[in-house]
């Protein structure tokens, strides 16, 4: 069995959760506090990747980031390499998959924070950003970390979006989930089983961490 694809999954998921973390916490903060017209629609669009078929998401990303799209061409002009069918593409795919999990969990935790605490911070001289960073963030850290763990687990197992925009190129974009598919197709059963068990262990560990972080307080009588 080779660890290459699993190591790549791990690298891609780490990079993806870093991007999804920054983006997701920022968007969750805006959704939790700000009121603007069309907020519910924005939220529905942000969470849609949780329920849309990965092929649909992959298709959108190909349209938006492909070599013929303005964004794709700008990126290629800037870096000399396209987004699609590269490792960057695999990271984008994993980020899109992870983002809604981070936002949903972080937003729920932020909405639990008593608005009077934010009000107190404001009257004590803190601007909106300082109140967010020093009161809202630390008090919702459990939910945020849980969202990051869920998003990481989702990114680690990403298959469909990755296949659509990064392909299945051994050594370049072939992550663990894709390598399992290849191994099964080629009757390399032992290899598939090894990777399946390792990915399962990682996912279960992430979910276990989530339940530890969001554990309900025990109520006495």
């Amino acid at each position: 069995m080779t660890f290459g694809p699993l190591a790549l999954s791990f690298q891609v998921a780490l990079a993806a959760i870093a991007v999804a973390g920054v983006l997701g916490i920022t968007l969750a903060g805006l959704l939790a506090r700000a009121r603007f017209p069309g907020r519910d629609l924005v939220e529905a669009l942000i969470l849609a990747p949780m329920v849309l078929p990965p092929t649909v998401l992959g298709y959108y990303l190909l349209v938006v980031l492909g070599r013929n799209s303005p964004l794709g061409q700008a990126y290629e002009a800037l870096t000399g390499s396209p987004i699609v069918f590269t490792r960057t593409g695999a990271i984008v795919a994993a980020t899109v998959a992870a983002l809604p999990f981070v936002i949903k969990s972080a937003r729920a935790a932020m909405e639990e924070v008593d608005p009077r605490l934010v009000g107190a911070a404001r009257t004590l001289g803190a601007g909106a950003l300082r109140a967010f960073l020093t009161v809202v963030l630390p008090l919702s850290s459990g939910g945020i970390v849980a969202g990051l763990a869920l998003g990481f687990a989702r990114a680690l197992g990403e298959f469909g979006i990755t296949l659509m925009i990064a392909g299945n190129i051994p050594g370049l974009t072939q992550t663990g989930a894709l390598a399992i598919y290849d191994a099964v197709q080629a009757d390399r059963e032992a290899e598939a089983t090894g990777m399946v068990l390792i990915l399962t262990a990682l996912a279960v560990a992430a979910l276990y961490a989530v339940s530890k972080l969001t554990g309900r307080p025990r109520h006495g009588w």
């Binding site: 009077r116 009000g119 911070a121 009257t123 803190a126």
Partner: protein, 229 residues
């Protein structure tokens, strides 16, 4: 010090705050003015509006020469620049911070770490809870929490003090003790202070002036004994 707090506030019920209705003109000179009225009369709405946490539909709020809010001029100074010391009824102590860090939160920026600690300690001592410095709010008794909240508001060097039922969780003896301390500090600093209560005895005892609020309107104001009869 800054002079009188003068406000003419109209708050129509908002989507997020349908119960918040207010149509009141008030004046708070240095010293304690009691804002008295039954539940739902608009007392808390009045305080959060003065502090800048709720935007009035229209009106004007000014402290001495500084305008905080004026719907005609389009002025709306954000809460962090009003220097209003607000003590919520729920106290709103930061649960993740020690008493000392709670009190230090509102200290002016630019102080060194040591100076911040000294200043926070000073206020905790002044309000007679220095032993709580390193402890977090979850372990405080009702009276201790109220003292820390008061110390936090005072440490931020407010130019006006707004207290929402600050003694409600205390028994009579502690209530009198803390009320005297607040009175002494307010007098010493020459601060205008607006103290909300729905307790008739507290209203009589604590303020030199009293504003009687009912259904969002000022019904009467003057010396507590006269207004309450």
């Amino acid at each position: 010090m800054g002079g009188d707090l003068i406000a003419a506030i109209h708050v129509a019920g908002e989507p997020g705050h349908p119960q918040a209705r207010l149509d009141a003109e008030i004046r708070v000179p240095p010293g304690i003015t009691v804002l008295f009225g039954p539940s739902g009369s608009g007392k808390t709405t009045c305080l959060v509006t003065l502090a800048g946490l709720l935007r009035p539909t229209r009106g004007r709020i000014a402290l001495g020469g500084q305008v905080f809010f004026d719907s005609d001029l389009g002025t709306d100074v954000p809460p962090e620049r009003r220097r209003v010391g607000l003590v919520f009824q729920s106290l709103a102590l930061f649960p993740h911070l020690s008493a000392e860090a709670n009190v230090a939160y509102g200290l002016p920026a630019g102080l060194s770490g040591a100076a911040r600690r000294d200043r926070a300690r000073h206020w905790l001592e002044r309000i007679r809870v220095p032993h709580l410095a390193q402890r977090k709010p979850a372990s405080f008794s009702g009276g201790e929490a109220q003292r820390v909240a008061l110390a936090r508001a005072l440490a931020s060097e407010p130019r006006v003090l707004l207290l929402d039922e600050p003694f409600s969780a205390l028994d009579l003896e502690l209530r009198l003790e803390l009320a005297e301390e607040v009175q002494a500090i307010v007098t010493e600093l020459g601060l205008p202070a607006l103290l909300v209560t729905h307790d008739r005895e507290d209203a009589r005892r604590l303020g030199r002036r009293l504003i009687l609020l009912s259904a969002g309107r000022v019904v009467s104001e003057g010396v507590p004994a006269d207004v309450l009869g």
